[in-house]
């Protein structure tokens, strides 16, 4: 049976189509999910895509976090369903408290759009097992509020438990504490990532195809489960 990976569309999502395409290229079946529909339609994993859901009103991800679909996703995430939040999706995961910390305005105040080098620090999460720890990849990064912050205690805990999934290399584009580009929950099924692997899955449109690993990883995880 084909693995079904949901991609949520919130009002203001931008990268839902690209995320669906990445899921398809990885060999799974993308399932479009609507923010007002609580039903997850028998998906095995879910991607919360990038964009500006609800116009980033109040705080990025703050309103989406209370949408009907998120109620079910939060429930299922706690039961172990793989969830990947990219950019705005990462913000939604932090607002949902599925991941610690928060994402705030870039220290430069500029919206940053560039091809960004990352180091995969944890290759054991549901979304990174097709990489090796220490592997460097280049994927697009585009955000205005991508600066990961958390208190010292939380940062130390993330480091000690190996829950920093990816770090910025060469340049920290937004002032994120400890160069953090992505983190995971303790179980390793929920991953939040500020850069965009779904834009680096085909040579025609991406700087590399090194983002595809996130989507093939979850497939492997589910097949082996």
């Amino acid at each position: 049976m084909t693995t079904r990976v949901g991609v949520v569309t919130f009002p203001g999502s931008l990268d839902d189509r690209d995320a669906q395409r990445a899921v398809r290229l990885a060999g799974a079946e993308p399932v479009a999910l609507w923010h007002r529909d609580k039903d997850l339609h028998q998906i095995d994993a879910v991607v919360l895509p990038g964009g500006f859901s609800y116009g980033d009103y109040l705080r990025c991800g703050a309103i989406s976090r209370f949408s009907p679909v998120m109620e079910t996703i939060i429930e299922q995430a706690k039961l172990g369903m793989p969830v990947l939040g990219i950019c705005n999706g990462f913000q939604v995961l932090c607002e949902s408290h599925l991941l610690p910390g928060a994402l705030t305005r870039n220290d430069s105040l500029h919206f940053i759009c560039r091809d960004q080098k990352l180091r995969i620090e944890n290759a054991e999460t549901a979304w990174t097992r097709d990489y090796s720890a220490g592997q460097e990849i280049v994927v697009p990064l585009k955000n205005g509020e991508g600066r990961f912050v958390a208190d010292q205690h939380v940062l130390d805990e993330l480091e000690a438990e190996g829950r920093v999934v990816a770090r910025y290399v060469d340049l920290n584009p937004n002032g994120s504490y400890r160069d953090i580009a992505g983190i995971t929950n303790a179980a390793g099924n929920v991953v939040g990532l500020m850069p965009h692997p779904e834009h680096a899955v085909e040579p025609l449109t991406g700087p590399t195809t090194e983002g595809l690993g996130f989507f093939t990883s979850v497939l492997k995880q589910l097949v082996n489960a």
Partner: protein
Amino acid sequence: MARVVVDVMLKPEILDPQGQAVQRALPRLGFDGIADVRQGKRFELELEGPVDDAALARIREAAETFLANTVIEDFTVRIEEDGK
């Protein structure tokens, strides 16, 4: 109608680049002597009923779960008296 005001501010230890940008612009415009600027949000909530303890407790709950992200922000709740 009763009005309750919720003020939300970034916690002191969280960098506020917007506040800093405003602070840097002030001297250029001739407004000297301002040492620091922090930018926050103000919510004005118009209540249908009276501002009693129960209503205030609900508003505090709303502020805590929704209006503010207490990971990075602090909030205060106060009643705005009639007649300004």
